[in-house]
């Protein structure tokens, strides 16, 4: 227990320091950091509740990754170098394995680290909003909502890879914004950040294979639109670097990992089908079997309110059912409001927001077409687009634009 307490205190202190450093110029930072700490504590409590029956028997994916990580820790301790490690399912297990090898096997600690990463995601999301010149209040509200979304707490308080995926997505977009927006950045800084973006795309691909296409495709749209708008060569160089690196990842990492990617609904009636063509045709067959409109509906709106009590993990838990139902209602509301935010981004012809939208659309479409048709799965996979979607939840700016256009004035500046 003492070890757990030390981990919690350390991570709470670290999140406070990071918050202070990231928002040092902002007057409302203290309140925001207090909320972030509260969100972190809620995650810690949730972890304790989740593991009340013991860490070796609780969970599904989280339990599997924990077990794989233990094996990786054993390998590391027996002298196997990191690059020779044998691991299953996901590269995330290597990361947890390294943590276990250094600090000892402790699933609580691994879950706490995930919680901390999730808080960092909230920070960087807020930072993106601030850099996009959103009002301080709106930016902090976006970050706070993100950190307190109930499903987000569930996905990020266990030894699952979700926390890391959300963090990488937000960090890629944060760095991409920084490279373009920060004119004071020295060339070495730009090079490092571009390299960082490429590495993060690679790591994201290791976690979810199709992230390569969603991230690099959306970055391509952002950077090309920005280049067309401003003629800045940096955008073009950045864009070409990302493209070149993505091609490299496609022909190395993607091809190698396609067969083992467990989240794709492969046809297991054929054993030993290492042939990549077989796998691709299997994915293609899965996609062709789907009703595209219905799949998009499912991805964006499931679990329907009447489905919620049937979600296995929360069945018979009235409080959890009410929370999930409330979250779903708010999500629907957010979806409707975000339409106005999307239109505002188009009126402004904002390359960054259009790029983020391209990421949301491509990620949504891929998941709608390849995910299994189960509410819980859609619910979990959709979580990756919640953070970018929050950037669009604003109807006021669009209302001002359209009012100004019809009244004959110039449309409003970015709010």
């Amino acid at each position: 227990m003492l070890e757990q307490i030390l981990w919690m205190l350390f991570l709470m202190a670290l999140s406070a320091i990071v918050g202070m450093l990231l928002f040092k110029d902002k007057p409302n930072k203290i309140w925001f950091i207090i909320f972030a700490e509260l969100a972190l504590i809620i995650r810690f409590i949730f972890t304790f509740i989740m593991f009340s029956n013991g860490t070796e028997y609780s969970g599904t994916d989280g339990l599997i990754y924990h077990q794989v990580a233990k094996d990786i820790a054993r390998q590391l301790k027996s002298g196997v170098p990191v690059w020779d490690l044998k691991y299953e399912y996901t590269w995330y297990t290597v990361l947890v394995g390294i943590q276990y090898a250094i600090f000892g096997v402790n699933r609580y600690a691994a879950s706490f680290v995930n919680s901390f990463i999730s808080i960092l995601s909230g920070y960087y999301l807020t930072s993106i909003a601030l850099k996009l010149k959103f009002k301080d209040r709106r930016s902090f509200l976006i970050g706070t909502i993100y950190m307190f979304i109930p499903s987000m707490i569930v996905w990020t308080a266990d030894t699952r890879k979700e926390s890391l995926i959300f963090f990488f997505v937000i960090l890629v977009w944060y760095m991409a914004l920084l490279i373009i927006k920060d004119r004071q950045l020295p060339i070495i800084g730009q090079v490092l950040l571009i390299t960082g973006v490429c590495v993060l795309i690679w790591l994201s691909t290791l976690l979810r294979i199709y992230m390569l296409y969603t991230l690099s495709g959306a970055l391509f749209i952002y950077l090309m639109l920005y280049y067309i708008k401003t003629q800045r060569k940096l955008a073009l160089i950045f864009c070409l670097t990302v493209l070149a690196f993505s091609l490299l990842i496609n022909f190395t990492t993607v091809m190698n990992n396609m067969r083992d990617y467990h989240a794709l609904a492969m046809d297991r009636s054929k054993s030993g089908d290492e042939d990549l063509d077989e796998e691709l045709s299997s994915i293609f067959a899965t996609i062709m079997e789907k009703d595209v409109a219905a799949s998009i509906n499912c991805f964006l709106t499931k679990p329907y309110l009447e489905d919620v009590p049937y979600i296995t993990d929360i069945a018979a838990n009235t409080t959890a059912i009410i929370i999930v139902k409330a979250e779903m209602l708010l999500w629907y509301l957010g979806l409707v409001i975000s339409i106005f935010g999307i239109m505002h981004a188009f009126i402004k012809w904002d390359p960054y927001l259009i790029g983020v939208l391209a990421f949301i659309v491509s990620y949504g479409l891929i998941n709608a077409l390849i995910s299994e048709d189960v509410p819980d799965t859609y619910y979990r996979y959709r979580a990756a687009i919640i953070a970018p979607m929050l950037l669009f939840i604003d109807y006021k700016s669009f209302y001002k634009d359209i009012k100004a256009l019809i009244m004959g004035k110039q449309y409003s500046q970015q709010s």
């Binding site: 339990l63 339409i339 239109m343 048709d373």
Partner: protein, 586 residues
């Protein structure tokens, strides 16, 4: 205060109610639960009273779950041991592995199962690559201590569809084999839990049950009485005769109130009716929304065409030739061509002022870099200048040094201070507003054009929003058509002023001028008289993005400095463009 409160209430309550309604109408799809289309059970009773059971369950719907659940009846004293679990994929049987803590290396995502022992049942969950919520599962298990042996009879009593299961099953066939043949007259079979179903002792060993279907609330309990010597190796349950008890129980069952079974059927019929109505409404709604989305998309495009036609009326009466270009300020010329002001608009505007004698340009060459400075002249009569020109002149005066010189790179491009950047941003914004305002003053829309513009803006937004909501909430693929159509109509209406006869004629003239600039030296070109002024020539060349073609004009216009001018202009534009985008970005 009251108004504000009403506004806040409206903003929160209205969307909430809308969403609630949408949730009920749009997203609500009936929860069907599990549906089994074929259920085959083969039971073989061993002489020790142990049962070997094979169940083949074909699910036509998995109740929106990623696993198939089979509930196995477990009575007091019974022990259930799962032997094999298979899933059937494309006529091939895939053997599943049991999932439990510690067995993490198993393929948990495909072809696995878990077993949960509850009070009076065993819950078997099978995970596999079930597609379209359908799948077939075969399970083999053993039930120990199942058959009860008494002094006079042996009793087989098992429930196959449990009362609490809450699913629908059809085509249920159960075949039970006794350990040995015996006289068929000694075998008595009973069926409980359903109103319709057949039982048959086919020979001296096999008993068959056939039930067409069950609904939630019904169950299938099979009971067989047979000679106790067939299970001679089974332990005696009680040293007493039991036949009379069985007969009494069966009498009680047959005389019991079965209204709950009738009620279950009634409820199922109601549920089926509701589901059929829902499906019918969904189909109707889909057809209606498909027609609606196609109709509104086409109507939207027709309105856009009508707006286009409206813009073209009286276009012939508008006349604007190459010689009329000086009526436009260079910054407006650039706005017409690109839709923005930017660095070009500013520099072109400055040379425009120079051509009118308000400022005097000077090309400064410092090694590899260069800049342009403007000196304020004595002519400051701004009466005939447009508002944007007056503002630009005001800015030159404001930023000029004591000697009256304004260096464009030094004053705009080399600013690092955040406060100064904010000032530049504000000034640029004011200048851009003035240029646009001057342009809009001249490029006024007629009442009809304005009507179509506003209609297009509103219709575009409505179509886009409807496209987003209908396509997602009601799964109507044709509704996605409204997204691009709505966007195109909105975009067209937003830029309608670029399509008026005023704009089209001027853009055409400016393009003609650009074409003339691009002609090679050898080609004959007739340069308009008004371009004989050096500053005016430079200003319009910048506005139409042809400053790098100046050398193609007759050298006499700009003399031997032509290359220096071209290079300085290029450098200045690059630096100015970068600085301006940096200022506007931050």
């Amino acid at each position: 205060m009251k108004k504000k409160l009403i506004k806040i209430l409206a903003l929160t309550v209205v969307p909430f109610i809308t969403i609630l309604l949408m949730t009920v109408i749009g997203f609500a799809q009936p929860q069907y639960g599990y549906r089994i289309s074929d259920y085959e059970v083969a039971v073989s009773i061993a002489d020790n009273g142990e049962l070997g059971v094979t169940e083949k369950v074909k699910y036509s719907f998995l109740g929106n779950s990623n696993n198939a659940v089979i509930l196995i009846d477990k009575q007091d004293g019974e022990e259930i041991e799962i032997k094999k679990v298979y899933t059937q994929i494309k006529d091939k049987l895939i053997e599943c592995e049991q999932l439990s803590a510690g067995q993490w290396d198993a393929n948990v995502f495909n072809g696995t199962y878990s077993v949960l022992h509850e009070n009076n049942l065993v819950r078997l969950k099978v995970y596999s690559t079930f597609k379209k919520q359908q799948g077939t599962v075969i399970v083999e298990y053993i039930v120990k201590n199942s058959v009860k042996r008494y002094r006079d009879i042996a009793l087989f009593d098992r429930t196959f569809i449990l009362e609490d299961w809450n699913g629908y099953a059809s085509n249920i066939d159960i075949e039970i084999k006794l350990p040995k043949y015996t006289n068929a007259a000694n075998i008595k079979s009973y069926l409980h839990g359903v109103l319709v179903g057949q039982k048959e002792v086919t020979d001296g060993r096999t008993i068959k049950y056939s039930i067409p279907n069950t609904v939630p609330g019904e169950y299938i309990e099979t009971r067989i009485v047979f000679p106790e010597n067939l299970v001679k190796n089974a332990k005696l349950t009680a040293f007493k005769n039991f036949m009379r008890t069985v007969l009494q129980e069966e009498k009680e069952y047959s005389e019991s109130d079965k209204s709950h079974l009738l009620k279950a059927r009634e409820n199922a019929a109601k549920e089926a009716g509701k589901r059929a109505w829902n499906e019918k409404m969904t189909r109707k709604r889909k057809i209606f929304l498909t027609i609606f989305s196609i109709f509104t998309s086409v109507a939207g495009l027709l309105i856009m065409l009508r707006a286009h036609k409206e813009l073209q009326t009286n276009q012939e009466t508008e006349c604007f030739e190459l010689d009329d270009i000086p009526q436009l300020t260079p910054q407006e010329a650039h706005l017409l061509l690109s839709g923005k002001i930017g660095a070009r608009g500013i520099l072109a505007g400055l040379f425009g002022l120079a051509s009118k004698g308000f400022i005097e340009p000077e090309f400064i060459i410092e090694g590899k870099s260069g800049s342009i400075s403007f000196s304020i002249t004595k002519n400051q009569d701004t009466e005939y200048l447009e508002a944007s020109e007056r503002y630009l002149l005001l800015l030159v005066r404001e930023f000029a040094d004591e000697s009256g010189k304004f260096d464009i790179i030094k004053n705009i491009a080399r600013i690092a201070n955040a406060e100064d950047k904010e000032i530049i941003r504000e000034k640029y914004s004011n200048l851009a507003d003035r240029v646009k305002s001057d342009h809009l003053e001249k490029n006024k829309l007629t009442i009809n054009q304005l009507y179509y513009r506003n209609l297009g803006l509103i219709l575009g937004v409505v179509l886009f929003i409807a496209g987003c909501i209908i396509s997602v909430a009601f799964s109507v693929i044709s509704a996605y058509l409204m997204l691009p159509v709505g966007f195109v109509i909105f975009w067209y209406s937003l830029n309608v002023q670029r399509k008026t006869s005023y704009s089209i004629k001027r853009i055409k003239a400016l393009m003609e001028l650009k074409k003339m600039f691009s002609k090679s030296e050898k080609e004959s070109k007739k340069i308009p008289e008004w371009l004989s002024d050096k500053n005016r020539l430079i200003s319009y060349s910048i506005a139409i993005k042809a400053e790098n073609k100046l050398h193609l004009l007759e050298k006499t216009l700009l003399g031997k400095d032509i290359n220096i001018i071209e290079k300085t202009l290029e450098k200045t534009l690059t630096v100015l463009n970068d600085s301006l985008s940096a200022v506007l970005d931050n």
